[in-house]
């Protein structure tokens, strides 16, 4: 198909100052002793956009997530979030920047119920005592907005299905009203129904105008919900694709290194000038 001349509205109108871009990483490098985990990674996330990060084992996905979450700072490179260049030295910095991370192990307290898990460490209080009523009410409001398939918020998290636990973990990330949600392998080890539940949830995060970074191994899930797919290979960018324009075959070629970045890298956004 020969496309007509595209109307690059943003590139023309706004140049580098793109207010929709809420997170921008440039040249992120990280070493662990002799191992170079990341070597000059670039990543952009816009509001209301789902960016998937895919790559083989050891490609640097988890390291990148940990840098965003403030687990360990990068050795070189810059992070610009919501228009200001900052450093993320610890998890508190990350949360204050508006980045909420949901790790693969979810970090839920199995013996506590849904409400306690959602508000853990940020409990609402009323004249010195826990305000259980307000917390429960606000939990229900949030879960209903996400159309979560939960039937009770007073059951211990241990009693929930994998998809429901993932939902609770994502809902907890939303309590602090973040601008960016990082999901690390949210559909790993889930059944078909639970995967559907999580994919729908990601769509809803997008509708709320959040930037979503989705780290996943599952190509089909990635292509179902992502707007853009960033491929990492051996700690480097190996392609930045629009999800609507690639096939799983192209993506796998980029992940395995069958195609090189020089051939597959497609410019996106204002880089397209």
């Amino acid at each position: 198909m020969t496309p007509p001349e595209p109307a690059r509205r943003l590139a023309l109108a706004e140049g580098d100052e793109n207010p929709e871009r809420i997170l921008s990483l440039r040249g992120i490098t990280k070493r662990f002793g002799a191992v170079r985990a990341l070597a000059g990674i670039d990543l952009d996330v816009h509001a209301g956009e789902v960016v998937a990060i895919v790559g083989d084992n050891g490609a640097g996905k988890s390291t990148l997530v940990k840098i965003l979450a403030g687990v360990h700072p990068q050795d070189a490179g810059s992070i610009t979030a919501f228009g200001t260049t900052t450093t993320i030295a610890n998890p508190t910095d990350s949360i204050e920047l508006g980045i909420a991370t949901v790790f693969q192990d979810l970090a839920l307290c199995d013996s506590l119920d849904v409400v306690s898990n959602l508000w853990l460490g940020q409990e609402l209080t009323r004249s010195g005592a826990l305000d259980e009523v307000a917390m429960e009410a606000r939990s229900w409001t949030l879960l209903r907005e996400l159309r979560a398939r939960l039937t009770s918020v007073r059951v211990p998290v241990a009693a929930l299905s994998g998809g429901q636990r993932q939902t609770v973990a994502i809902a907890r990330a939303l309590i602090g009203d973040p601008g960016i949600v990082v999901l690390d392998e949210p559909t790993a080890a889930l059944g078909v129904s639970q995967t559907a539940e999580v994919l729908n949830l990601i769509e809803r995060l997008r509708e709320r105008g959040l930037g979503v970074i989705l780290v996943s191994h599952n190509i089909a899930d990635v292509l179902a919900v992502a707007d853009r797919v960033v491929v990492l290979r051996l700690g480097r960018n190996n392609g930045d694709f629009l999800a609507s324009e690639i096939t799983s075959d192209t993506l796998i070629a980029a992940i395995t290194g069958a195609t090189d970045r020089s051939a597959t890298r497609r410019p996106v956004g204002e880089d397209a000038r």
Binding site: M1, T2, P3, P4, P6, A7, R8, R9, L10, A11, N18, E20, R21, H46, A47, G48, E49, W140, T141, R144, R147, R149, L150, T151, S152, V153, G191, V192, S193, T195, A196, L199, N200, E203, R204, E207, A220, V222, L223, A224, V225, D227, R228, L242, A243, S244, T247, S248, V268, G269, E270, A272
Partner: protein, 402 residues
């Protein structure tokens, strides 16, 4: 099932009756989503007070919409509520370009469970049918039924289907599903009878049975979304043509020298007004990645988005005028994702139709928005399934007929 970006969340108007009506709908929706729930859980999920839930449950079980069973939760007595169903169940699967929608209903078309999953652009039949079979099993489980209770499954795809072979009748349109007897394939997975049709035909059937085209005997249902197609209702029946390709207006030539289409032709309506073609105009704009973004921006008043939708409407209108000149329907119903744009799409379509279609004394056919919105095709799948077992509209029980 998600609230559409254009209409958004429905507000509850003030009056007592409409409030009660809205509460009832909310409760029934929750049951469709979760299957069986106790009254206490219903109160939590709907946000209604336990007393209100109890009242509505009483009222709706008296009228036969709900059934209640004694049960227990955490050792306490509880009343479990479910949507009532009769006779047997049917299932509907609508695979659109980006979504799989599934519903289970009884043969009276009362939907008891509904779900949807986003799909990748180039989804393939093996993976998606596997997934659909598993999802269907899980959903049946949630309403306390099993695959044995399913009498038939109706499947809709956004491509023409040859009814004699059950395969896609034109190559290139949906590569991952070509050359596969889809109904047979799914039958093998679930061991239940299945029937396949194009989603435009399914949507047409639903709009004719229970939607905007209920009172007419001939109508055209135009489905405008990622792809464009039409389903024809002639004399009260869906018209398939010889190979199921009737009504494929997405591949009507609009521009002889236009871009090359998936079907191998040039300048098809799909290449000018289909979803990917519209989004191509916004390449490089991170806010505009999906059809839903285009609709939301147009709804928010963005001039260029409205213009793009209006142009799509004009192009569809030209193809539609040709269709109207040939089959002369009484009414045109517009559905699919783009129809959510309402008059932004319909007004230019009407204008193009008036310009190019033969006008009689009664003028050109009316163009209206579909009444069933994004669920038309899914409900059509259910109707397909119900029809295939012979207990559809009108009394056509096999025993009586034979």
């Amino acid at each position: 099932m998600y609230p559409s970006p254009v209409t958004g969340r429905q507000r509850t108007p003030g009056s007592q009756t409409s409030l009660r009506e809205a509460n009832r709908a909310r409760l029934v929706d929750s049951l469709k989503q979760h299957g069986r729930l106790t009254q206490v859980e219903l109160a939590g999920v709907t946000g209604l007070s336990p007393a209100t839930v109890s009242n509505i449950v009483k009222e709706l079980s008296a009228s036969g919409v709900l059934t209640t069973t004694a049960s227990s939760r955490s050792g306490r007595r509880a009343v479990e509520v479910a949507l009532a169903r009769q006779l047997g169940l049917v299932a509907g699967l609508h695979f659109s370009s980006r979504h799989l929608r599934i519903a289970i209903s009884d043969v009276g078309r009362a939907v008891v469970a509904e779900n949807h999953v986003p799909l990748a652009f180039d989804h393939r039949h093996d993976r998606e049918l596997d997934r659909a079979a598993l999802l269907l099993g899980d959903m049946l489980d949630s309403v306390g039924a099993s695959l044995d209770d399913v009498l038939a499954v109706g499947i809709a795809l956004p491509v023409p289907i040859d009814q004699s072979t059950g395969m896609i009748s034109a190559p290139g349109l949906m590569r991952g599903w070509e050359g596969v007897p889809i109904a047979e394939d799914f039958e093998q997975r679930v061991q239940r009878p299945a029937i396949v049709d194009s989603d435009a035909n399914a949507g047409a059937l639903a709009e004719h049975r229970q939607g905007a085209a209920r009172d007419v005997s001939s109508a055209a249902y135009v489905r405008a979304g990622h792809t464009i197609g039409a389903g024809l209702i002639l004399d009260g029946r869906v018209f398939h043509g010889t190979r199921g390709k009737a009504g494929q207006i997405g591949h009507v030539t609009i521009d002889e020298n236009g871009p090359i289409c998936r079907c191998g032709s040039r300048g098809c309506l799909d290449t000018l007004a289909g979803g990917p073609a519209l989004m191509e105009l916004f390449r490089g704009d991170p806010r505009m990645q999906r059809l839903r973004d285009l609709l939301a921006q147009a709804d928010a008043g963005d001039a260029s988005c409205r213009r793009v939708i209006a142009d799509a409407g004009r192009h569809i209108g030209i193809a539609l005028a040709n269709l109207c000149n040939i089959v002369d329907p009484e009414l045109v119903v517009v559905g699919g994702e783009l129809a959510q744009a309402g008059e932004t799409l319909l007004a230019p379509m009407r204008h193009a139709l008036e310009r190019s279609a033969l006008a009689g004394a009664a003028g050109v056919p009316d163009i209206v928005q579909g009444a069933l919105e994004s669920r038309a095709e899914l409900l059509g799948c259910l109707s397909l399934a119900i029809d295939s077992i012979g207990v559809g509209d009108g009394i056509r029980f096999p025993a009586v007929a034979g």
